[in-house]
Assembly symmetry: D2
């Protein structure tokens, strides 16, 4: 299949690699063009503009934020202006706002294309291993067309409805759940530590029983060893995502006090520990506020 | 072995049953004596006082709160006044305050006995199935003596240190983690619901991937179907436990904002929905505050 | 002096009236033109466009939100496009974002004009009575030019610096303080009420002593009598303002947990009690959550 | 009148001084007896036990906490055991729990005496100046008997009902309001400061207009100059009081999220800045979390 791929960061580069490896004809574009080199070596073609990357059957975007998606879609040389056949599908895998998902759905419909939201769960190493989880929403035929492509890089594929925005809501809920898991672990481990309990013992009890889930193991270890750098997912990105959750919550009029706490702790993290730390460094704020290391 | 067992509620009754079934000589006591009948039928002896139940090698307590434990230990006819040989071990499985654990440790030491804290994780059906998790702390020889007994009703046994209080801290941390999991699920599921997403779809995504842990499956289903009655663990007990966490946090000087949120939501649950609901009914407060069912 | 006045709502209409009454040559513009009638009757001239209203020495804007200000400033027929002499001053009295204040400062500088931020404290009846408080920031000469005009409708005039944004920050801080005063009163009065204390007695003690300030008297009475409609300042406007505070807090990286609480309570107010209530109806959420009126 | 006075700290000593100065026959008692010296010099008699101090018509207590009050009332040599005539009135001016107020009401009734709760607002310098505010509750005749005495040291006297506990609820509400005022000022002033605004300018605007109340002036200055030591009211006492509010809120089932925030900030204050600072040092936590002084 002729595929376009826009956004070749840690996540996008790995995913595009799987599509190339599966034998698809992949045309790539990235704002800083040098990121394309490894893929071109492996057989991808490099486009001069987003529009050019969008000339195939399906174009993927995997970008940092709403602004980056808006740029590659709505700019003069953007996707919706690409003169292509009407079956064109745009699959957005980025974590974007629900509002932008709605705008993209309308814009594509108006230009004869189809929008699919397919955000993913998983860190870069899961992307490389082809073990992401995809949450996809859009018209059924479009999802059918995408599914074989998703399988090249995902272990789980969830189809959650016709309206693309549904997938974005679920992705935001998931990221909120992860932040909440981190904060609750941080509070429990700090209480344990300051009460004379070995944090590793607490973590072992939790993750051997009721909390035997990947997220608690992964972040429990990070908090235990205070390995907040280098960031797997940097705190400013975490705050960006929690702000998207906040916008969705305002739109749906849902008060979310746990969200309030994690947003405050992310702000404190940036203020006290800078932008380079992982989003799980909110655990340092919990610890700081208990006087640890005073 | 000659064993005493005090407190024959849903949890205690099931655990004592396993000890009887394993062939131990079990003497039981309960405030309302009729609860002892089923065990007596199966071969247990019924004591007239807590002290009498404590005449064997090891006495277990499984009671509702600090007050109940204080009563069976320190009353005229209580455990520490029992005239028994000095190797006597008292194993407290109740969720009690860290402060009471410290007081019991001292009181037993002063009277020539040994205190072991061994709170458990698991709901009544896990107790019946012999699948509890025990978190035990106390002197090593005492734990060695208890371990074969724990195995009759537990799937996991964690030994977390010499000082009994350590086990109580971990139990409290665990209950706090469960409450936090419930609140975060409630916020995410309410956001999803009010945004047009099928809550079941969100829950499926979460529990198939990052949150594939028992606690999220169990409580996710309860929240999904709003089955808050009959209570598996009633809201007033939840508040009692979160107040114990709060006391431990004050003692250790650890600010815990998630704890603040769940305490407020438990209070609102009691105020709005009464005392009979499950502690997971905090999810109704989240939902109420989003205007659901208005 | 030749003055323009854009935005003739409850606040703007009253302020413009004072300027007319003081003998200035006032040209007015409002999106819905009929609002201009009472002022035209008293001698004001009605402009066809914002640009036309901006042809005098100083133009005031008093509008609902950032979008409305952006429209009258940056549209084809907007203020910054008005072909006028370079001493032109734009005085913005609206509660707008700090970011927009910065953008306006730059835009006016670029077009040879001067931007002054002069948000006001006071409800509509204070505007009519000429008893507003003005917080003004901008270049000194511009403030000197404005001061006699401010005096026609204000009791207090504070000059807080050269950079217009400073006045906007102070205005946002002030509105946050008011919301916090309302929430704290609501919590205290609900606790009193549910504890059997006469709320009026509590309010009397507070406002006769430590809290003898207008804001506590005004809102205490509203909460006491639950007079949340008609709204003096509607809850959606309150939420808009708290979102502006949130944006400023994010920009300055200041975690503000009280802000988190009032934003959540405003959302719950909209979700449960609709858009027509006063922002002080957050007190109903506090009361609802205590089971009052259950 | 024959008066007893128990508790001669900064507050109690000053109040007892006014009673002596007014010509009453005052018998004093304090745990550390040397505190009585200045009053004895001025004509007071020193009692050997609380019971002895309670032999007159009315006995006042002004003590640090519930435990201290329980000791002087219920100990072998305590007030309720004093063999005295049945019209005996005990006036408690301490900030105690609502539950203890209820217990004292019952205990005095059972022993033929009368309990009056009369907590005061005001710092030590207000006590010395005779400018306290008294909030009194109890049987009318008892309040009539007390009123002339209150007038020797109070500027405001509020009678709030028959049941003594009502006065304690109001006192706790008042202290909660003060803490909330401090936190809201701290958040606003930190936002201002980190946004480039002169904090003094913000404070001036606030306290010249809507917040022209003593509490905002007093604490605004303390926060402005970061003068948290020596403590006017030490942080551990603040936490004790907020815990009493929390107990009252639990009893009345009133969720109070602002209370949650200030309790967390008081804990963080103790953990990070020690026990010697004023309760207004919660402002340092707000400031710390914004990265100030990093």
């Amino acid at each position: 299949m002729k595929i376009g791929f826009i956004g070749l960061g840690n996540m996008g580069g790995a995913i595009a690699g799987h599509l190339v490896a599966a034998g698809h004809e992949v045309t790539v574009w990235n704002r800083s063009a040098d990121k394309a080199a490894p893929l071109v070596e492996r057989g991808a073609r490099q486009a001069a503009t987003p529009a050019e990357a969008a000339e195939g059957d399906i174009v993927f975007t995997m970008l940092a934020n709403d602004q980056a998606v808006e740029r590659v879609v709505f700019a003069e040389d953007g996707i919706v202006r690409a003169k292509t056949h009407v079956s064109k599908i745009h699959v957005s895998m980025s974590t974007i706002s629900v509002a932008l998902a709605e705008r993209l759905t309308e814009a594509h419909a108006a230009s004869g294309g189809t929008f699919v939201a397919a955000p993913v769960f998983g860190r870069p190493f899961a992307a490389q291993a082809g073990k992401l989880a995809v949450v996809a929403a859009g018209p059924n035929e479009a999802l059918d067309a995408c599914e074989p492509l998703f399988k090249t890089f995902a272990q789980h594929i969830f189809r959650v409805g016709d309206a693309p925005r549904l997938a974005n809501v679920i992705k935001l809920c998931g990221n909120f759940m992860i932040m909440s898991a981190i904060e609750s672990l941080a509070e429990a481990m700090t209480l344990a530590d300051r009460s004379g309990v070995d944090k590793a013992a607490l973590l072992n009890v939790l993750t051997s029983t009721l909390f035997a889930a990947p997220i608690f193991k992964t972040y429990g270890e990070i908090i235990l060893h205070e390995e907040f750098e280098p960031a797997g997912f940097a705190a400013p990105l975490g705050l960006k995502d929690m702000n998207l959750v906040d916008a969705a919550a305002q739109s749906a009029r849902v008060p979310m006090p746990f969200l309030g706490v994690v947003r405050e702790h992310l702000l404190a993290t940036l203020a006290r520990h800078g932008d380079a730390v992982d989003w799980s460094a909110i655990a340092k704020i919990v610890s700081d506020n208990s006087g640890a290391g005073r």
